[in-house]
Amino acid sequence: MSLKDTFCSSPWFHAKLSANGQLDYCRWATELDQDQYPENNIRNIDPTEYFQKTMSSIRQDFLDGKAVEKCHQCYAVDKHDKVSGRQRQLLKVGVTVDRFEKTLQSSPIRNELAYSSDNHGLTNYLPIDWQVDLGNHCNGACIYCGPQWSSKLAAEFKKIGFIDKIPDKPWTESPKLIDRFVNTLKKTKHLAYIHFLGGETVITPAFKTILQALIDNGISKTVSIGLTTNLTVWNQEIIDMLCEFKEVNLGMSVECFDPVNDYVRYPSKSDEVFKITQQWVDVGRQNNWLLQFRITPSCLTISKLLTVYDYAYDNEIAVESCNFMTDPSFLAPNVLPTELREPIIKQLEQWVDSKQIADSDNKIINTRHQAFAQQQIVQDAQSYINYLKNEPVINETGKMIDFLKKLEQSRGNKITDYLPEYDDYLRTAGY
């Protein structure tokens, strides 16, 4: 792989704080085995030291042109012409893959790249772009989610026997650690963006605590924040606090506007989700927030993807999925056999053709700009066409069925009630 295909600028301005307190270099990177690196936990290291010193080795790898193992998801996404996290992070410092050499030389971080090159990957910068995972406090139990992201799912998994113990308490339950993090933010010049994830952010007590701290310290006036919500709750007090911020990037998680969303994003109810979606869209429009749908297409929802694309296209709201699903692998869209993929590909191709958006060489990387939303949605649809056509079928239907049957015993539902068109496929495989 060449430099333009491996390099990422993210470790010069971004860091991630996971629910268990683990610091990491990227929100898109594959997560480390957390227990293996306790020294990188906010309980044990100041975020400044972690960023400037500990992350030197990853910066050095990028400077040396190495393909970094933990970045394989971004490299896979690039392969299917979908917009990867790597490309988004490059763009934030003015670098594009199509003009890589010239845009990198012209980047505002050019001098700092040279400094790091001369100093074994060290930097004097601080992160100005954070992803902060608040914990697993959640009212939802999406089937592809995990106990570390959902307290409801954690309880259910323990009851079924999928896990032995529920996850440890998140870092956000310690007022001392919240202070440590907010103090890092306070001393960061040019702090630009903090993206919060839950659990469900809107009902997580620490979300309110941190928002209030950012407002009290005057940080809210100069910083953009992002959050992702599951469209099942409405909290006016939080919305009033969000209005205090310079800019809000609102990610609205949904898989489709079809009853199968209720099965996958259990126990949501699609009518209610649609109503709350409209409320968020309205408040977002009133406050000039950047709105996005955050989708996680799986083998159970990819055939209904157009319901989101249609709504988003008509309302000029971008649609973003971080990576192609790989975990759990048995729910990934590439589980689907060719005969089930074909009608989905055809449906997506017809939809793309109907939009008559000129095929442009200029890929939309800044997917959050409303003016580009429609073109971006078509681009996203095309990436799923490419994926379904080219990604080999993986033989994990049996695993999926074992998993679904155990969950269904707990929940009293049946996938074939939501996807009758999968009936033969699932039964042949042992459903």
Binding site: L63, Q105, P108
Partner: protein, 87 residues
């Protein structure tokens, strides 16, 4: 070119074309163009410069990026954040 330090050490330039006449310009120096008697087609590294991105004065068309061209292009094409750091 296999490392970023090699890339940064490589001398690069912009290719500027005004009404078909082409010349090179240092990559990191802001681009300044004056066209007498009004706008004519201007292209920088295959990117067409619209006449309204410059201004007219006494019948001549002026264009100035003020920043390195690719930083200017990032802004004019609405590419979102352009992070400047605090080293």
């Amino acid at each position: 070119m296999t490392t970023i330090s090699e890339l940064l050490a490589t001398k690069q330039s912009l290719t500027i074309s005004v009404n078909g006449e082409t010349y090179e310009h240092p990559l990191l120096e802001p681009v300044t163009i004056k066209i007498e008697n009004g706008y004519q087609q201007t292209v920088i590294d295959d990117f067409e410069i619209k006449d309204w991105w410059g201004y007219m004065h006494d019948g001549d068309w002026y264009f100035n990026t003020k920043y390195p061209f690719y930083q200017w292009k990032h802004t004019i094409t609405d590419q979102g954040w352009l992070f400047y750091q605090n080293s």
